[in-house]
Amino acid sequence: MIRALVVALLAPTWRTLPWAPLAAGGTLGLALVGAPALLPLTLPPVVLVDLVRVAALSGALGAAFLLDDPAGHTTGAVPTPRLLRHSLRTALLLPLAAGWWVAVLAVARLAPASGAGLPYGALTVEAAALTACSVACAAGVLRWGGGTAAGSTAGPAVIVLSASLAAVPHRYRLFVAVDDPHWADVHRYGWAGLLAAAVCGWFAWSLQPTTRRPVSGGFGGRRAFGAAGSR
């Protein structure tokens, strides 16, 4: 049943993806990492890493619009659960995002950087975490805001998040310089933790609640229904 549903939904869901923001964010990201090679500008490795990060942010901004659905009010009251609809969109994004990211790293390699190669693995974890935060944030906006368009809120939220991660005191900072002694730890715990938290957030906020107050309502809310219903 679910399988047939997923198969039937693949093509139309693909068409409902927000192509304009995804394409704009992706193109800008590629243009940014391509700029040093085109101009040409020589960037020290620390700065080149930052540039790749900005490109990742650009892609994450596009992903903030992933869950936007202009027909959301209609599709919000159908038997296909929101979790399945969100999962489908996210699953369709994944191969696109992966391909785009490989392209970003490949283009960044062309930059006339003075120094060693880029830390590909660590940067990939950062990009994945940022994108996951972006999509999770969109799911949260839909869950708590109730509208059908989350991107215009989730996008700036991701920028604010990134700015905070770069500006907080060094002890809590996730955007550390590539020669920072805590680099490995920050990625192993900080970024991976953020990625895990974002995935959990995305999952939790993609569930549509059946009662209004989940904390007391999981039990109490149901009881309210039962009590009133027996009148």
Binding site: A71, H73, T75, T80, G229, R231
Partner: protein, 295 residues
């Protein structure tokens, strides 16, 4: 004009009791209870009365703070129950959005898939049938961005009706339509009411007068009236009169096309009493509420 009286004795398909919802400090719904049976029921009320909130709860798009709702015996306060409700539900939201790049057929087909119609052949048949029903047979292949407002509204109705739901919730479907389109829409809704439970939210008393066997008036989150349109009209019996000048003490009064004033309220002795309309009854119902609220 109205549904067969037999349906009123049939068991209710939808029952609502004690629905309450607060939204940012204001009470959007306050202890709302009623039952719906087969046929078209009208939900009347001024802007901000809580109609859309009530309809969103009935369509399981929003859970209530308190209260019970059952649709065909299913309770949407559990995941399985909500799933069961949604399988029998058709919903036309107040501002249905569209994917503008889709054709009318593709959009209704997409909604049909989301309604778990996974057999491609049967689904396409069903989609075609619904589009034919709403008079869009010729516009099936047109992109939604090329359709007029009235046609888009019909696409939304087709999307609500696809899958043959037994409970249909329509939130102001006739807003923004010209009189001819509205007439056509009324026919469609009346047809949809055959063998289904339809709840129609509207500002237009004519919609109710022409379509509904039953009417619920909602104002400031509370039910002010629940009965037949005739009963609502009768509530204004003896409380509409004409005069040469605007009457003092009337709840409402306006100059009609003939130059005489039509007044609503407690008529003075010897006033020329007029035959009330459904609208008079509606105004009495919500004005009565205003008095009650002030008292």
């Amino acid at each position: 004009m109205t549904a067969p009286p037999a349906s009123r004795t049939a068991p209710p398909t939808v029952s609502v009791s004690g629905l309450t919802l607060r939204y940012r400090g204001t009470v959007a719904l306050d202890d709302v209870s009623f039952r719906l049976g087969e046929g078209v029921t009208g939900l009347l009320g001024p802007n901000g009365a809580g109609k859309t909130t009530l309809l969103r709860i009935l369509a399981t798009a929003t859970p209530p703070d308190r209260g019970a709702l059952t649709v065909l015996g299913n309770d949407p306060s559990t995941v399985a129950g909500r799933q069961a409700v949604r399988r029998t539900l058709g919903y036309l939201p107040q501002s249905p959005g569209f994917h503008p790049g889709f054709t009318a057929f593709e959009f209704v087909d997409y909604v049909a898939i989301l309604k778990e119609l996974t057999d491609r052949r049967q689904r396409h048949q069903e989609v075609r049938r619904r589009l034919d029903d709403v008079g869009l047979a010729d516009a099936r292949g047109k992109r939604i961005k090329a359709l007029s407002g009235g046609m888009r509204q019909r696409v939304a109705l087709a999307a609500a009706l696809v899958g043959d739901p037994s409970f249909v919730v329509l939130d102001e479907p006739t807003v923004g339509l010209d009189p001819e389109q509205r007439m056509r829409f009324r026919e469609l809704i009346a047809e949809a009411g055959q063998g289904r439970t339809v709840l129609l939210s509207t500002h237009q008393t004519e919609d109710v007068a022409m379509l509904c066997h039953r009417v619920v008036v909602l104002d400031r989150g509370r039910i002010r009236f629940d009965g037949t349109p005739a009963e609502l009209t009768a509530a204004a019996e003896g409380r509409v009169w004409s005069s040469d000048a605007k009457a003092q003490g009337a709840l409402a009064g306006w100059r009609t096309g003939t130059g005489e004033f039509r007044n609503l309220g407690d008529p003075p002795g010897g006033a020329a009493i007029l035959e009330p309309t459904l609208e008079d009854g509606y105004l009495m119902a919500i004005d009565g509420a205003a008095e009650g609220a002030m008292a």
